[in-house]
Symmetry: C2
Subunit: 343 residues, 2 copies
DNA sequence: CACGCCGCCGCAAGCGCTTCCATTCCCCGC
DNA sequence: GCGGGGAATGGAAGCGCTTGCGGCGGCGTG
C-alpha cells in the first residue's frame, strides 16, 4: 500500500509538504505542488480516509436516514443529496429504517453515534427530543427534510400552500364540489403533513365562500391502491357527487384516475383530479399536479449542512421553504355543465 | 469527547483490556468485561471509527454502486443489502451513477479508491476490466448483482429461464401467438439481460414447436410509458394479432395493460400479459408475473462479500443463481376461442 | 511437590495522516 | 546595507485506537 511518505520520497519533499500540496491547505510553491501531484499520480496514491479522519476529526461523510426506500419522494431527495454531497467531496451513508422492528434504535445507538458521520440528514422523520439531543451532544449538525423538527433547520415545502394551490386551481375552473383524499394521520410517520394538506384544501374552500364538507374528505395511505379504494368509496356514494378531487400525492391520484375509469367516469369530463408531487408517472397519466422538487430539497439540505459544518457558526436554524408549482395537464377541466344543477 | 482511556480509568483496567472487552477479541475475564461494559455505558462511550479503522485497516463500510435510484429493482436490492449489512455491523455508503455526466469516473477515482470502503457491490453495472482491476489491486472484494461481471462473483437470476417460464405459462394456457416486449439492448447499461430475456421467449416457443416471429418482438426501455407505446404498436398492427405477450418487466407490462384497455381490449380475455419482477404495483393491476426477489439478491450479495472479507480465502467466484417464481394473477387466461382461427 | 501451560492483563509500538512550531531564505522598504 | 516580514519547507507530536509481546498467577499433570 503506497503511503504519504512514498510520495514524499519520490517528490523529494517532506510528508508535511505532500499533505499541504495535496489538500490545498497552507502555502506550497507551485512547482513543488506540481512535483508532488505528479509523484502521487505515478504511484497511484490516495490518502487513507481513516488516517486523515483521525488526524482532522472530520469523516467527510454524512448520514442520511430515511423511513422507506421504495418511495419516489425518498429516492428523489436521496438522489439530490447524493449529487451535491459528491460535489463537496463527501460520502453518503444510508440508513433505512424500514427494515426489522428495532432498527430505529439500532441506527441511532450503534451507527449514527458511532462517529462515522459528520452530520445527519433526516428525511420525513419525526425525531424524538432525545434523538436530536444525542446527536447534538456529539456536536453533529442535523437537518431535516420534509417536515419541521423541533430546533433543527429544515427544508420543506409549505404543505398547506400546496393543497391550497391545487384547490384554487379547481375553484378557478368553476368547481364547487371538491373532495379531498389525503394521508391518514396515524398511518404515516411524517409529522403533520397530512393534516396540513387537509387544511390547505379547507382554507381555499373557505376563502371561496364554501364550507368544506367533512364527508368529502377520505383518508388513505400514500399508495396507488389506497387512492383507488378511497376514490371508489367517494365516487360510489350517491350523496356526494364531487366534480373534482384534490389528492395529497400523485400515486394516490393515479389510483383515483384508475378508479374513475373503472367506474365508467371520464377524467376530466366527469371528474377533475389534481395530485401533488409531479411523480415520474404523472406525465404518463396526464395528471395535473402541484410539483414539489424533492431532488432540490435534498440538495438544499446538503448546502445547509455544509454551511453549518464549515462556519460552525450559530445562525438561527433557517427553515427553508422551497418553491412548488402547479403543472396543468389533462386531468383537470371545467366541470360538465349538465352535472351541475343550476343555482 | 470521551475516549478509551476514560473508560479504562473508570473500570480500573488498561486501555488494552477495554479494547479487548468491547470488541470481543482476546481473552477477558467475564467479571472484567462486565465492569468495562458498565463503565462504557455510563460514559456513553463509542469507539472512534477512524481510529479503529486506522489501527485495524478495516473500515466496516461497504460501497454500493447503482446506476439509478428511482427504480424499484435497485431500491429493493439496496434495501436488502442494507438490512443485512446492518446485521453485520457494517455501514452502506451509496454511490449513484445517474447524476452528472462524469460521475462514473469520479466515483471510481475519487471515492471507491479512497480507502473508504472495504468492498463494493455493483448493482446491474457492467464494469470495465480496468475498473475491476483497480478495485482488486487495492485488495477490495467486489461482487455484482443482476448480471455477470468478468471474474467477479455475482448474484443474479437466470434471465433466460425467467422469460422461458413466463412463455411456457402462456403456452400451457393454449396461446400460440405470443409477442414479446423487451429491453432495448442499447438503451440499458445492464449487460445482456434484455437479450437473454428475449432468448428465453424464443427458446420456449421453439420447444413448443413454434418458430418465434421477429416481428412479434418490440424493443422498449424499462418504463411504463415505453411499454404502453410498444403495446400500442404491437396491438395496432392488424397483421400480428397476438393473444398474449410476455413483457420483460412489470412496469412495462402495466403500460401494456393500460394500452390494451385504451384500445378497447379486455385483459385477459383479448390479451394475456405476463410481466417479470413482481413489482409492488403488480397485485394492484392483477398482473401475472415471474417474481424475482431483489431484496434477497441484495442480502445474498452481502453474505458473499462477508465470506470473502472474513476468510480472505480464494474460493472460486461462486456465481449465485437465485430462484424465481411464477405468480398467476388475473392478467392471463386461455385465449378466446373465436379469435383463434381453427387450424 | 514441582514444572509447565494457559488464561488474563498491561506495556508500548505502531496505524498514516495533519498541523503546530521552528527554520531558512528571499524580497522589500527605509 | 540592514532589519523585518512573509513565503516555503521540515521536524515531530499527536489523533484514538488495536495488538504483539511478555509477565504473572493458578491449576492440572507426572
Amino acid at each position: 500500500m503506497v503511503g504519504i511518505d512514498d510520495v514524499a520520497r519520490r517528490a523529494g519533499v517532506s510528508t508535511a509538504t505532500v499533505s499541504r500540496a495535496l489538500s490545498g491547505r497552507g502555502h506550497v510553491a507551485a512547482a513543488t505542488r506540481e512535483r508532488v501531484e505528479e509523484a502521487a499520480a505515478e504511484l497511484g496514491y490516495v490518502v487513507s480516509a481513516s488516517a486523515s479522519s483521525l488526524a482532522t476529526g472530520r469523516m467527510r461523510n454524512i448520514g442520511v436516514v430515511v423511513p422507506f426506500l421504495n418511495r419516489w419522494f425518498y429516492t428523489s431527495v436521496l438522489e439530490g443529496a447524493q449529487r451535491r454531497l459528491m460535489q463537496y467531496g463527501y460520502d453518503l451513508t444510508l440508513y433505512n429504517l424500514s427494515g426489522a422492528s428495532n432498527e430505529r434504535s439500532t441506527v441511532f445507538e450503534q451507527f449514527l453515534l458511532r462517529q462515522r458521520v459528520d452530520a445527519v440528514i433526516a428525511v420525513s422523520l419525526e425525531l424524538s427530543a432525545e434523538e436530536v439531543d444525542s446527536l447534538h451532544a456529539l456536536g453533529k449538525p442535523l437537518v431535516g427534510v420534509g417536515g419541521p423538527i423541533r430546533g433543527v433547520p429544515t427544508v420543506s415545502i409549505d404543505d398547506v400552500g400546496v393543497t391550497r394551490l391545487a384547490t384554487e386551481h379547481l375553484l378557478s375552473l368553476g368547481h364547487t364540489v371538491i373532495g379531498h383524499i389525503g394521508g391518514d394521520v396515524d398511518a404515516e410517520m411524517s409529522f403533520h403533513m397530512p393534516t396540513n394538506r387537509r387544511h390547505g384544501w379547507e382554507d381555499a374552500l373557505r376563502e371561496a365562500g364554501l364550507e368544506p364538507r367533512p364527508e368529502l374528505y377520505f383518508p388513505a395511505v400514500f399508495t396507488m391502491e389506497s387512492g383507488y379504494v378511497a376514490a371508489k368509496q367517494m365516487l360510489g356514494d350517491p350523496r356526494l357527487r364531487p366534480t373534482a378531487v384534490v389528492v395529497a400525492s400523485d400515486e394516490m391520484a393515479i389510483g383515483v384516475i384508475l378508479a374513475a375509469r373503472d367506474m365508467g367516469l371520464d377524467v376530466p369530463r366527469d371528474l377533475s383530479v389534481v395530485g401533488i408531487d409531479d411523480h415520474e408517472l404523472a406525465p404518463f397519466f396526464g395528471l395535473t399536479t402541484v410539483a414539489q422538487f424533492p431532488e432540490q430539497q435534498g440538495e438544499r439540505a446538503v448546502e445547509l449542512l455544509m454551511r453549518e459544518l464549515d462556519q460552525s457558526r450559530e445562525d438561527e436554524p433557517a427553515n427553508l421553504q422551497l418553491p412548488f408549482e402547479l403543472i396543468v395537464r389533462s386531468s383537470t377541466s371545467r366541470p360538465r355543465p349538465e352535472r351541475e344543477p343550476r343555482d
